[in-house]
Amino acid sequence: MAGMKTATGDYIDSSWELRVFIGEEDPEAESLTLRVTGESHIGGVLLKIVEEIKRKQDWSDHAIWWEQKRQWLLQTHWTLDKYGILADARLFFGPQHRPVILRLPNRRALRLRASFSQPLFQAMVAICRLLSIRHPEELSLLRAPEKEKKKKKEKEPEEEVYDLTKVVLVGGVAPASFRGMPAHFSDSAQTEACYHMLSRPQPPPDPLLLQRLPRPSSLLDKTQLHSRWLDSSRCLMQQGIKAGDTLWLRFKYYSFFDLDPKTDPVRLTQLYEQARWDLLLEEIDCTEEEMMVFAALQYHINKLSQSGEVDEPAGTDSGLDDLDAALSNLEVKLEGSAPTDMLDSLTTIPELKDHLRIFRPRKLTLKGYRQHWVVFKETTLSYYKSQEEAPGDPIQQLNLKGCEVVPDVNVSGQKFCIKLLVPSPEGMSEIYLRCQDEQQYARWMAGCRLASKGRTMADSSYSSEVQAILAFLSLQRTGGGGGGSGNHPQGPDASAEGLNPYGLVAPRFQRKFKAKQLTPRILEAHQNVAQLSLSEAQLRFIQAWQSLPDFGISYVVVRFKGSRKDEILGIANNRLIRIDLSVGDVVKTWRFSNMRQWNVNWDIRQVAIEFDEHINVAFSCVSASCRIVHEYIGGYIFLSTRERARGEELDEDLFLQLTGGHEAF
């Protein structure tokens, strides 16, 4: 190699000295000097460095980083000349994979080794493989916001950081599953815990914390997040990320391909978490009714994940005893049919009979509650003047199927009323049942709820329903009702298995409602989801999230060509939306399906798009770099090509072609 000298010590080849720093980019790193020529191959230089260091270690992950050019010298057969490296080049010999802290969609921190030398797209593929999330193309990394860091220091200095840096994945092979999790997680208790963190929904956040977290107050605020996306076509190193930095891992493209509860526990959970935080932090708005459904789903999901019913209750059948299984089977087959099918002849249907006070609001009546003998059988409620008259004709008989059941309860006031809105040919008849105590209330309430869905008290869910109602009442007694915690949200563990509604709704609902107002509404909504399994509930949550009109829109501040004011560009998976910045109104929508081509003028940071019918649009990007906009558009186009090309293989070239800037080539 290089370094031939004469006796006097003069170099007779055209060799020169190359200084290489060992370690990561650090001005004080130790360095060594090699004698090289322009024809030296990078591979040879590497070899020489390792020899010089004289340390026994696995150097295979190390490579040379050229600081000035912000470039890795990865082509080992290239010569220094070909790279254009001269003696003044500042080269660093360091590992290509370095630890970073990822803040996951569920807000937990996870340390792992990410590739600093491959384009981010490839690095993401590796990360997602490690985390066992399919379809890595949907995710990307964001820089952590600076201010957030400060806050974190003051409040939670000792946050648990899960560590996956020591886990090594065997390349190429699809991770095998072992003990219900990908094999690489089952090595130690620590990694196992990490997998559980990834694949199980987190408990609801502390409402106090929730209130303190920053929330976007305007559309403008929502654009900020999107200025922090990293560039998929360049490596982390090139984007100024250092080892140990914190990055956010998020689903970037709102186009979730082939979501499958069975194969995607981590993906589903993280998606759910992202959706949940989106809603809790008001990144996406929803109506009150929708929020109650979201809250109910969260409540249900928490309950399931805490009770350990995490492992997909696919085996529900084995859990039930045979009879229940057969019955529920029967029920399924008869679904929607009269509840009085052959079930009746085989099982007794429990009925409720008791003295209850009944109130029927009518025009021009001032009568209040009146004591009646009430019989509740199957789905029918009949009431009589007295018990003695029971065998005769009831005063009224109501079939509760399809009715609306509304609790009207005040535990501290010992008021246990059930409001029924029963449909009849004439309209809805309203009737109130007043129970004496919690026990009675729980039994009747559960019966009414089942009946409204056309099921009888023989249904297997009856007793659990009763229990749930009792639990809810006791909750109200200890929590919302008695504590007088009106506007003071309790800590996360105020009620162990219970329901702290403030952790489940966005802060603006915390301000709007008292806990005891929220709880019944959430529980009411819970009725409709109580039967779902964990993954079903998560999926339902995601679907409801996707159904929101504002779902999946990434906002960027832009200035359209010819316009004098800033406007918002919303980018969704199928369209671009021009939005008025001040009012928030949609001005215009363009669909990708009509798009002919788009171009980026990197010099003036302008994106120009041509649609069918010679519609041309051009805008410059204000809040985010035009790279980000460009990549979003290209990314969605790329994702839309997936449908045909089934499977999980990724056409990375196509992705980079669609999203890469000119510097990528």
């Binding site: 009714e289 159904s547 449908e643």
Partner: protein, 682 residues
């Protein structure tokens, strides 16, 4: 889906118009009461055995009634023969089902066995003839359990009716129908499966009566109607309910349960059910751009919308309906809302979201957080309001109405909304349907298109051949005249069984042609000539089947000929009628394949090796018919004498295959579980 439909081409039936209710004689009543008594006994014993609190009678009073008729009797009379038969088959299925339950439950208690066994005997033949896939297991099981022939001892029960002995054929037939109707009346009361006889009004002011059981969806009923009306089966056909009193109407979605909807009608209702075409039904799938890309009526967009090509439409649909969640069209705008109980209308700004309809409260913006919920869709259906301008002084006639399905009278709980124009109305109604039904709507549409596509091909063929869709129906009609005994029954059971299997096929694969449909159009034309020449006039059943075997493998037309043949022979031969129909169905199917490329895949096996293929295939029909046929055809004369006893039997026959089959499985599951549980406890 359990359903009985596809009754066309059925061999059994009764002479039209022969029915006289008054004729029911004591013997018959005796028989029925016996039968019923036995039922009670069985249920009773069942109750005793299984449940501490014996519940001898079904606790609930079934409220079966007919829709559009004054009374049940009338409605039953209005039913076509096949339907009546089907009804009977169903009812009997219920009985035998109960028996089977008992049998299983009481294997240990032998005294009961004979009774139940005797009752079940016929059902064996029924199931045996079925022999299809899943049913096979069940059949064999029964065979083990029950000695088939014990009939004699117990037969006395069913026998009584026959005694009338030497009656003229006509009388007999009349009586048979009387029997049926009577039994039907009886059974309707305790039938486990709720059934309605429904009068459906056609476009041409005529009406058809149809039996609908509670498991049938609107789609099934439509299919049924397609068969009966020979319409073009396009996707726009729908069942349409009209509330004259409320002046509202709507079409049923294909997945809706018809009986459930009709059960909400009051007994004295003026509501009507129509069978007609409505473009609106699937408009969104034909032109999704009108609903998804409508940019608040901006002109430029409208132009492009018109031009949208099929491929773009498809991708738009896929995007909207095939994702993780369905996309509800963005829709908002000012609508008039009728104020509760008044005839005044208030203009409000409404928005449609997947979770419901919202409005913008006064002084608020239309951001999500400010919206107030107007209504959610869980408990309401959407209707078109008719002439609301007149009735309620609505600002326009483009009204839609939201109400709980059970509400039948004017009520403050019915919400009336009024749009500015027809376009808005259609967008709102469609949008609400999408929000309410989600992907189901798209699935419905795809099923409907599949059906329509198939049908249109059939009809095309039919018209080419200039074939009147007569064959099957004539076959049915002629057959009935002669067929009165058990034979018809057997065939019928097969038919129904086939029908069911078809249904399975239909659902699993794409859409298959209905046996009935198939038989009319294509088969008939060419068939006529061929069969006549080639067929031996009085083909004994066995022979015929062999004939078929020879014919169908050949060229398509030939196969068709075979199919068509069947209807024809019945005319000439009285006795054989029953058997032919079933084979007809078998054979009919094969023929289509050659002609239509799409259909064959499913049915490839049957066509070529018609007979052998059938055997190889788990096709039940072949085996059973021969035995049945042979006796019949041979002893045409004795038939009269013999016939009486069969009626009771026959009822049992169809039972298991028809209605009972599906439930049997889980019933037996249930029984097993119960037994197990009891075992555990003791």
């Amino acid at each position: 889906m359990h359903q009985r439909g596809k009754n066309d081409g059925k061999a059994c039936g009764i002479l039209n118009g022969l029915f006289k209710m008054g004729e029911s004689n004591e013997d018959i009543e005796q028989m029925f009461s016996n039968l019923l008594g036995e039922m009670d006994l069985l249920t009773q014993s069942l109750g005793v055995d299984i449940l501490p609190p014996p519940d001898p009678k079904p606790p609930r009073v079934e409220f079966n009634y007919s829709v559009g008729f004054k009374d049940l009797n009338e409605s039953l009379n209005a039913l076509e023969d096949q339907d009546l038969d089907a009804l009977m088959a169903d009812l009997v299925a219920d009985i035998s089902e109960a028996e089977q339950r008992t049998i299983q439950a009481q294997k240990e208690t032998p005294q009961k066995q004979p009774q139940s066994a005797s009752l079940c005997v016929p059902s064996f033949s029924g199931t045996a003839s079925l022999g299809y896939g899943a049913n096979v297991a069940a059949t064999s099981q029964y065979d083990d359990d029950l000695p088939p022939p014990p009939a004699d001892p117990v037969l006395d029960l069913p026998l009584p009716p026959p005694p009338p002995g030497p009656i003229s054929q006509e009388e007999e037939e009349a009586q048979a129908k009387a029997d049926k109707i009577k039994l039907a009346l009886e059974k309707l009361k305790e039938a486990k499966v709720k059934k309605l006889v429904v009068k459906i009004h056609m476009n041409d002011n005529s009406s058809k009566s149809l039996m609908v059981d509670e498991r049938q969806l609107a789609r099934d009923v439509l299919d049924n109607l397609f068969e009966k009306t020979h319409c073009d089966c396009n996707v726009d056909w729908c069942l349409y309910e009209i509330y004259p009193e409320l002046q509202i109407e709507r079409f049923f979605e294909d997945h809706e349960n018809v009986v459930e909807i009709l059960s909400d009608w009051t007994r004295d209702t003026e509501n009507k059910l129509l069978f007609l075409e409505k473009k609106e039904k699937y408009a969104v799938f034909k032109n999704p751009q009108n609903f998804y890309l409508d940019n608040k009526g901006k002109k430029e967009n409208k132009e492009t919308n018109e031009k949208m090509n099929a491929k773009n439409k498809e991708s738009l649909l896929e995007e909207s309906f095939c994702g993780t969640s369905v996309i509800v069209p963005e829709l908002e705008g000012a609508l008039y809302l009728k104020e509760d109980g008044k005839k005044s209308w208030k203009r409000r700004y409404f928005l449609l979201r997947a979770s419901g309809i919202y409005y913008v409260p006064k002084g608020k913006t239309k951001t999500s957080r400010d919206l107030a919920c107007f209504i959610q869709f869980e408990n309401v259906n959407i209707y078109y309001g008719i002439q609301c301008k007149m009735k309620y002084k609505a600002p326009t006639d483009y009204c839609f109405v939201l109400k709980h399905p059970q509400i039948q009278k004017e009520s403050q709980y019915i919400k009336y909304l009024c749009c500015d124009d027809a376009r808005a109305l259609s967008q709102w109604v469609t949008g609400i349907r999408i929000a309410k039904y989600g992907k189901t709507l798209y699935d419905n549409y795809q099923r409907a298109t599949a059906k329509a596509g198939l049908a249109s091909r059939w009809t095309n063929l039919g018209t080419v051949n200039a074939v009147p869709p007569a064959p099957p129906s004539t076959g049915v009609k002629t057959d009935p005249t002669q067929a009165n005994g058990q034979l018809p029954q057997a065939t019928q059971s097969m038919n129904t069984a086939l029908g069911e299997d078809w249904r399975h096929l239909e659902t699993t694969k794409d859409k298959k042609p209905d046996p009935g449909l198939g038989s009319h159009d294509p088969g008939a034309p060419r068939a006529q000539p061929l069969p006549k020449s080639s067929l031996p006039p009085p083909p004994p059943p066995v022979r015929r089947s062999s004939d078929v075997g020879g014919g169908s493998p050949g060229t398509p037309p030939k196969a068709k000929g075979a199919a068509a043949r069947f209807p024809a022979p019945p005319d000439d031969l009285l006795p054989p009628p029953p058997p032919p129909p079933p084979p007809v169905e078998d054979d009919e199917l094969p023929p289509p394949p050659p002609d239509f490329n799409d259909t064959p895949p499913d049915f490839v096996p049957p066509p070529p090796p018609s007979f052998a293929g059938d055997l190889g295939f788990p096709l039940p029909p072949p085996p059973p018919p021969p035995p049945a046929l042979a006796p019949e055809s041979v002893r045409t004369p004795p038939m009269t004498v013999k016939r009486p006893p069969p009626p009771p039997k026959r009822q049992e026959n169809p039972g298991p295959p028809g209605g009972g089959g599906g439930e049997q499985d889980f019933m037996s599951d249930l029984m097993k579980a119960l037994q197990k549980k009891r075992g555990n406890m003791s």
